[in-house]
Amino acid sequence: MTLSVTLRHRFAGLTLDVAFQAPPGVTALFGRSGAGKTTVVNAVAGLLRPEAGRIVAGDVVLLDTAARINLPPHRRRVGYVFQDARLFPHLTVGQNLLYGRWFAPRGPGPALERIVDLLGLGALLSRQPGALSGGERSRVALGRAILSNPRILLMDEPLAALDEARKAEILPYLERLRDEVALPILYVSHSMAEVARLATTLVLIEAGQVTAAGPAATLLADPAAAPALGLREAGAILTARVAAQEPDGLTRLETAAGPLWLPRVAAAPGTTLRLRILAQDVMLATTRPEGISALNILPAVVQELRLGDGPGALVQLDAGGERILARITRRSAAALNLAPGSPVFAVLKAVSVAQENVGSGA
C-alpha cells in the first residue's frame, strides 16, 4: 500500500506546497526545523486541515478538499507516534497499549504478545507512564500506535527528545519494526544519521517545498543532492553481510564492493547490515596504495564528479555495483586527473565507521 500526499497550506511566513509518494517501508521526511515536516504529518493524521490537498492511503481517500472529503482523525486509522509520546497518565502501560484495540476493526491485527516482545515491554505492562524513562516511554508510544492496527504509521521525530544512549537503544527496535511489520511508515527527522539508518525512501523538504525525493540509497549517493542534505553528513549506504568475527577484534564484512574490516560489530555471521560511509571519511588513490595503515581499499570507477562552489568536490564511485560517495578537494581532483570513467581505489579507515552508522537490515 502506498500513501500519496498533495498539500498546499499557508502560514505566517511559510507556504507549504508538497507532493510525494510514500511506498511501503520507511519514508523519511527530512529537513530543517520549521521546514513544514510536522505540518505534513499532522495533515495526514487529520489534526490539521490544509487549505487544499488530497491524501490517499492505498485506496482510501483520507482528504480531498476538491471533493469535500475530510475524514476525522479517529476514522483515518493512522498510528501517530508523537515526539512527546503522549501516553495517558491515568492508565497503565498495558492499558495504554490496548487503548486503540477498542476501536480497531475486527479481524487479524498485530498481536499484543508479539509487539510486547518486539519492543521489549514485558516488564513494564503494569507500570504507570509517570514512572517510565524517556526511552521506555517512546517504546510504549510506538507499541500503542502499532496495536491500533493502523493503515500507516506516522512518527514525528520520535527520538528527538532522547539522549544519544537512549537513541541507540531505540534504533534497533525501529529497524526490526521496519523489517517485520508490513506498514508504510512516514518518519519525520532532521537527523541524517537516523534517516540513513532507517529510510528506504527519502523526501527532502526545504522551506515548505519538496526539493528532492526518491529511494534513500540512490539519493544519499547522489552528489547533486548532497549539498541540500548537508555536506558534512553526506555519505552513501552500503549493504553488507557479516562474514566472520576475527580474533583481533575486527569484524569481516562482505559487500558487493569487496571485503571490509570494521571494529567489532555485535552481529552473528550471516546478518545483513546497512553501513553509512561518510563521504569525508573516504580517500581516493589512482594506484593501489601500499604501506598504508588503512585496512579497507576498494577498487572503484568514478561515475560522477561534482565540483562545489568552495574548495571541495564530491565524487560518486561505482564499486562492484554499490555506490560510494567521496568528498575531496578540487585541487586533489585536478591533481589525480579524475573524470567519469577513471579507475580509482577508495580508502577507508576501519575505525572511521561509527557504531551509530551500522544498522541492521536492508
Partner: protein, 232 residues
C-alpha cells in the same frame, strides 16, 4: 444517634443533607457540560453564559431567591410549565430548597471543574483520536478521568455551599419545618426564640462536623486519585 438531637433538629439536619445531595447530583451533569463549554468551545455569547453562571456568586442571595420565586414559583412561567408537563413543583417544597442550593452552588462547581479541564493537555485527546477513539469516547476515557480530582473538588465545594445556603432558600421557599427548614434556617429560627440558644448551638456543632467530614473526605479522595494518576 437521634437521642442527642430533638426530632425537629434531626429533621432539619436530614433535610439539609437530602437537599444538598440532590442539588449537587442533579446539577453535576450541567456543571460538567458548562465547564467544558467555557473551557474548550468558542461560541457567541460565551461571556454572557460565563456571567450568568457567576451571577449568583455576586448578587445578594435574597435577589437570587426572589428571581427564583418569579421564575419557578406557582405563577412563574417555568414553574407552571414544569408543573403542567412533568408534575414537578418547586414552590415551598424541599425540591425548591434543592433548586435554590443548586443555583447558588453552581458557580463554585463550574469554576473548579473548568480549571481542571483547562489543565488537561488537549494533545492527549488528540492522541486518543488518532488511536481511533470518537469524540465522546475521548471524553469518557481520557478527559473525565483526568479531571476527576477537579470534579471531586467541585462537588465538595458545591455540597458545602448547598449545606450553608440560607438567603435564597428562605426567600424562595420560606422556612417550613419538615418541608423547607434546612440547617441554617433552623439555626436562625432557634435564635429568634428565647431559650433556643442551646438548640442552635447543637446544630452549629453538627454543621461544623459535617463541613469537616466533607473536607477530609475530599482530601482523601483527591489524594487517592492523584496517586493513581502519578503512579507508584
Amino acid at each position: 444517634m437521634t437521642d442527642w438531637l430533638s426530632p425537629e433538629e434531626w429533621r432539619a439536619v436530614a433535610l439539609s443533607l437530602r437537599v444538598s445531595f440532590w442539588a449537587v447530583l442533579a446539577s453535576l451533569p450541567f456543571g460538567i457540560f458548562v465547564a467544558y463549554a467555557l473551557a474548550r468551545w468558542r461560541f457567541p455569547g460565551k461571556q454572557v453564559l460565563n456571567g450568568l453562571v457567576h451571577l449568583p456568586l455576586i448578587l445578594p442571595p435574597v435577589v437570587t431567591g426572589y428571581l427564583l420565586l418569579l421564575t419557578f414559583g406557582r405563577r412563574g412561567w417555568a414553574g407552571q410549565v414544569l408543573d403542567e408537563w412533568f408534575g414537578i413543583v418547586f414552590a415551598f417544597r424541599w425540591t425548591g430548597a434543592a433548586l435554590a442550593a443548586a443555583v447558588m452552588a453552581f458557580p463554585l462547581m463550574v469554576r473548579a471543574i473548568r480549571l481542571a479541564i483547562e489543565a488537561v493537555d488537549p494533545r492527549l485527546e488528540e492522541a486518543a483520536g488518532t488511536l481511533g477513539a470518537p469524540r465522546l469516547w475521548v471524553l469518557a476515557t481520557v478527559t473525565l478521568p483526568l479531571i476527576l480530582p477537579g470534579i471531586i473538588a467541585g462537588v465538595i465545594l458545591a455540597f458545602a455551599k448547598a449545606m450553608g445556603e440560607f438567603g435564597a432558600t428562605i426567600t424562595f421557599v420560606s422556612n417550613i419545618p419538615g418541608q423547607t427548614q434546612t440547617l441554617p434556617s433552623a439555626i436562625y429560627s432557634f435564635m429568634q426564640v428565647p431559650g433556643g440558644e442551646a438548640q442552635a448551638a447543637r446544630l452549629v456543632a453538627v454543621a461544623i462536623a459535617i463541613a469537616m467530614a466533607a473536607l477530609l473526605l475530599s482530601e482523601w479522595i483527591s489524594r487517592a486519585v492523584a496517586r493513581r494518576i502519578a503512579g507508584p
